[in-house]
């Protein structure tokens, strides 16, 4: 609030941005204060706020796109002599992200009103959702790394809350814990990256850090530390964007409500990793970029192969998301900066749409399950089929989104994905075979994508319902898609089509979005790839889809034996998660148990040992006092008696013993003194 007041004399753009960011926060606060009352108005309020937010970002976008970046900051605090500012940085990147986020979020908000209808934690859900939107939008507009890190974590926190939204489900709380901890690993990288930069430049400011080209050459930060910093930031991105090897949280995160998966784990938050790469792009040197490329490509390929065999509807989409994020990351690595962001934007819409559709399907299946008292998993595609009859709108939107995902012409996905593919080939040109593998794998992945998404579509919508096999008398109930479901989905599907992004359905270079991120040194289409690749991709895609059709609708050919090694590898998600659970987690637990034992036994034991020693010493002294000294005296006394051959029985009395002891000591002191 204070920020608003002090910023009033700044430009309208800044005010718009602030309003856009803070509106969801206001919704969150208001919701928070009406803690106890379950109100329908809670949802409406959030929707209203996010709508206003969208409008603000829209205006802001129109005003700022392709203009000079705007930057305003106020003093946040001063530590020593270093002043830390809080501020906004509005460049193309951030003003693009704002409407994308708020747009997708609006759709999800409206959708959620229906989806969460009747849940007793309804208002808590909107509270969390608003909070997430605030954090996510703040993340994209802040101007320094520290604040960015802060919102980065808050986004993760919101995701934690929403994954574990149904907190009584054991799997959900396991999943949110896993998500948070894995993200923490990434945060660690991010933090260390920040520390490296701060140690060198004593500032967190993005502009100061990244606009000066000399910062990372010559006398600036170079060499090993630069590589380490780059790797650290990339580690942050790996965790957030679910790249190998930290991708396993994302499939588990599907335990959250589907609407949440749509917003957070498909469209926005997971894209934050890519966004981070874009923000700190100058940090990455050649080596790091190579790592990024390989990681991205591998993740894309691996996730796609896993998606081929999964039966859980949401898991398939989750791996698809991982795969697509791999595309973006790889694109960042090969220097296709603008393509990556382009794909980020288009992917946000179509993947969100896919998830929302999935939500409707699951909702329907759940409904059926309860109605028929079946023991089935409503998310398992093996039980579905023929749903196009009762969910026609969902069917259509789902088709559109899938086409966009495959990247067929006329969709937005075609534009962005082709950009990446073409640039990958361009990048590999003139390099060794090893480098050529990168574009080849990306290409293969895009075909795999076509296959798994077709499999999903065919299994879910085509054919007859598998439930008929279980209950022969089964009849689908009449179609009754909720308007609160369909409208947001239709809204999103508009954004899956090419006109929104480019007037030319075939050439991604013409897209305004793509051009918005180009540097001055961009070269126009110069070689053959620009025509060959799209053609090759699409021509081969059609047979793939057809094969899938044959396989799953017609039950025709069976190319994948379900017992083969490859199938198992894919079905078990490459065993990565199992490896983590069985080895890494166990090892950490074992170490901490050992350390605790060490603490009890050794460290504490040492202290106890010291006490014991003291006590033992006391016992010794006491014993010596009573026995040794006296005993020695006795001994001497006995000798004395023997020598003097006194016949009389000799009994030293206690008092006499005392005296004797005293005397002996005195005499020994004396003798000692004389001797030296």
């Amino acid at each position: 609030m204070e920020q608003i007041n002090t910023l009033q004399n700044y430009s309208t753009e800044i005010q718009l941005a602030l309003t856009a960011v803070l509106l969801p926060f206001a919704a969150f606060i208001i919701n928070f204060l009406v803690l106890k009352t379950v109100l329908k108005g809670v949802g409406i309020l959030s929707v209203f706020c996010i709508l206003l937010s969208l409008i603000c970002s829209g205006i802001l976008f129109a005003k700022t796109w392709n203009h000079e970046p705007l930057h305003r900051q106020i003093l946040w605090f001063q530590i020593g002599t270093v002043k830390i500012y809080a501020g906004l940085l509005l460049n193309n990147l951030s003003v693009l992200m704002l409407p994308v986020i708020s747009g997708v979020a609006l759709a999800v908000h409206i959708y959620s009103i229906a989806y969460l209808h009747g849940d007793q934690l309804y208002n808590r859900y909107f509270r969390y959702l608003s909070f997430f939107c605030f954090a996510m939008m703040a993340l994209v507009v802040v101007d320094n790394l520290l604040l960015m890190y802060a919102f980065w974590e808050l986004v993760g926190f919101a995701s934690y809350l929403l994954i574990g939204f149904w907190f009584t489900r054991e799997k959900a709380v396991q999943a949110n814990k896993k998500a948070f901890i894995m993200n923490r690993i990434g945060d660690l990288g991010f933090l260390i990256g920040i520390m490296i930069l701060y140690a060198h430049f004593h500032t967190f400011n993005l502009i100061t850090l990244f606009t000066n080209p000399n910062n990372f050459s010559g006398n600036g930060l170079t060499g090993t530390w630069l590589t380490v910093a780059g790797l650290c930031f990339f580690l942050g991105a790996i965790a957030k964007s679910a790249q190998f090897p930290l991708h396993t949280w994302l499939p588990d995160a599907m335990e959250g409500p589907t609407s949440v998966s749509a917003l957070i784990h498909a469209a926005t938050m997971v894209a934050a990793g890519v966004f981070l790469l874009a923000r700190v792009y100058p940090v990455f040197n050649g080596d790091v970029k190579m790592v990024i490329t390989i990681t991205g490509t591998f993740t894309a390929f691996m996730a796609a192969t896993i998606a081929l065999t999964q039966n859980d509807l949401k898991k398939i989409l989750a791996f698809s998301t991982i795969s697509q994020l791999g595309f973006m990351v790889a694109a960042m690595g090969i220097g296709a900066y603008s393509s990556a962001l382009f794909h980020l934007a288009t992917h946000a819409f179509f993947k969100c749409l896919l998830f929302l559709s999935a939500g409707v399907i699951i909702h329907e299946m759940q409904h059926l399950k309860e109605k028929l008292h079946l023991e089935i998993d409503p998310q398992n595609i093996l039980y579905m089929g023929g749903l196009r009859k009762i969910l026609p709108v969902t069917f259509i939107t789902c088709i559109i989104a899938s086409l966009a995902l495959i990247g067929l012409p006329l969709t937005s996905g075609y534009l962005s994905k082709d950009g990446i593919l073409i640039q990958a080939f361009e990048w590999a040109e003139g390099r060794s075979f090893f480098y050529k593998l990168i574009p080849i794998f990306i290409l293969i992945t895009s075909w795999l994508t076509a296959f798994y998404i077709s499999r999903l579509l065919f299994k879910v919508f085509w054919g007859e319902s598998r439930l008929q096999e279980m209950i022969p008398t089964f009849q689908f109930p009449a179609s009754k898609e909720n308007k609160l479901f369909t409208w947001p989905m239709l809204f999103l599907s508009v954004f899956c089509l090419f006109p929104v992004f480019s007037f030319n359905p075939l050439l991604y270079e013409q897209s305004w979005l793509f051009r918005g991120f180009l540097g001055a040194d961009y070269l126009e289409r110069e070689n053959i790839y620009h025509t060959v690749i799209p053609a090759a991709v699409n021509l081969f895609t059609i047979p793939v889809i057809y094969i899938a059709y044959l396989r799953y609708v017609k039950q025709g050919i069976s190319w994948f034996p379900e017992t083969g090694f490859l199938f198992k590898l894919s079905y078990n998600q490459w065993y990565i998660d199992r490896f983590y659970q069985n080895y890494l987690v166990k090892i950490v637990q074992w170490i901490s148990k050992m350390l605790y034992q060490f603490d009890r036994k050794v460290v504490d034991g040492f202290i106890t040992f010291l006490t014991k020693i003291t006590r033992f010493f006391a016992v010794c002294i006491d014993w010596a006092d009573r026995n040794l000294v006296d005993g020695l005296i006795n001994f001497i006394a006995f000798r004395v008696r023997d020598i003097g051959s006194f016949a009389r029985g000799f009994q030293t009395g206690k008092v006499q013993q005392y005296l004797l002891t005293m005397l002996i000591v005195v005499l020994s002191i004396y003798i000692f003194k004389i001797l030296i």
């Binding site: 003093l75 919102f151 808050l154 054991e170 814990k177 948070f180 520390m195 950490v588 460290v603 202290i607």
Partner: protein, 532 residues
Amino acid sequence: MHILSLLIFTPLLFGVLLLLLPSFLRNSFKYVALAATLVQVVLSGWMYFQFKTGASFTGINHADQYQFVEKASWISLNLGSLGKMQIDYFVGIDGLSIGLLFMSSVVMAVAALASWEIKTNLKGFFALFLLLDMAVIGVFCALDFFLFYIFYELMLLPLYFLIGIWGGVRREYAAIKFFLYTLFGSVFMLLVMIGLYFSVTDPVTKNHTFNIIHMMNPANFAQGSVFSLSAHQMLFGLPARSLAFVVLFIAFAIKVPVVPLHTWLPDAHVEAPTAVSIILAGVLLKIGGYGILRICFSIFPEVATAGAFWLGLLGVISILYGAMNALAQTDLKRLIAYSSVSHMGFVLLGISSQTTEGISGALMQMLSHGFLSAMLFFLVGVIYSRVHDRYIYNFRGLASLMPQFTVFIMIAFFASLGLPGFSAFIAEAFSLIGAFTSASVNGLLPSWMAVCGSVGILLSAAYFLWTLQRMFFGETRLSGGESWKTALTDINFREKSALIPLSLFALILGLLPSLVFSKINDSVLALVHLFR
């Protein structure tokens, strides 16, 4: 205006009042204690806002730059040929202490609220409580080493009894362990203190002095005295100043606690009643950190610089070791106790970096941990007071039973694990950043220390989230069955009124760290300047 004396001795006044009250008014004892602490909160809050900042109010080694200073001759002995033994009642505060002062009074008020659960021997409990309160505040204000030591020792006995009489099953063991540990340190501190006394002379009167501020100026050390900077005296074959530093450091490190001197802490925490746990974690541990800064580092800056590597190493070890141990716990209170070890490790790491960022971060961490650990222990106390069990596996799905309680638990846990927006984030981030920049600024700590330290943040997430998942989420299942279900009611007004301020403080400091940093900046800069 003797506001500082008023602040220190308010608990004593109320304590006397309490002792005079007849026992049939025993229900009013807790209100007396609470009133005392609230008066303190108001006083220290007022002081916080009156606290002036700027280049002429840095404090540290300039006596005239302290604020709210009071100085009166206290013990004055004529020692004939040796001049006079001059011990002053000398109190004052600077940037290092002001924040801690306010934090302590708040934590004390919370502890007073937490002591509602005490049912037996109320007069004794609250009398000791107020005595402890006085001693704690006194430690933060004292500028005369003798006075400091007196207050420092005065904390021991009340704590011993508070743990020993009102504690849990193994209370005697814990109380004695705590007592011997701390006493061990402080006895040797006494020797160093006297040694310093004979090394330092008042520049004006030429008498020996206990004045801490005079001790910081190497010019005040008598020629050829034991701890003189130029004399390079040796004791037992070691440089005298290094030895003194180590001895003092050990005394304070026991309080902090630094691994491997920490084993009193889990036992003391687990056995102590909630209110005492709160004070232990919230205030007592900070005295260790404060002592290291005020005494060890300020008086022996060159030793601190020379030994920074080892201090930092200890800090990192504490962070990781504490966190790993916390991961293995099954008793909620023990878990939090170990997490304290881990979090206080950041303080040591930040301090030993000797950079402005590191020290500011460490101070922030002390404040933040003060509020948060008080909150955590209070929350544990809430459960314990209801069912007398803290074993994590005995609970499940508390969130459904106690939703509001769970909200506070989540705030406390996430704030503790360094969620941005809460104070611990800023604190830990800057402690680590300070440790990291140290390599390029003064070359004291290698950068891997900060990197290892940051792993502690990851581990803290692991154990807190595991606890959340295990205890609070999932289907409600309690080992105590139905009787527990009825016993585990959601938090009441009193508990809320203790928890809400704490969470607000953690939040406000996280959002507006300038509230703290603006007050401490000048002092921290002066302190860093001392190291050069």
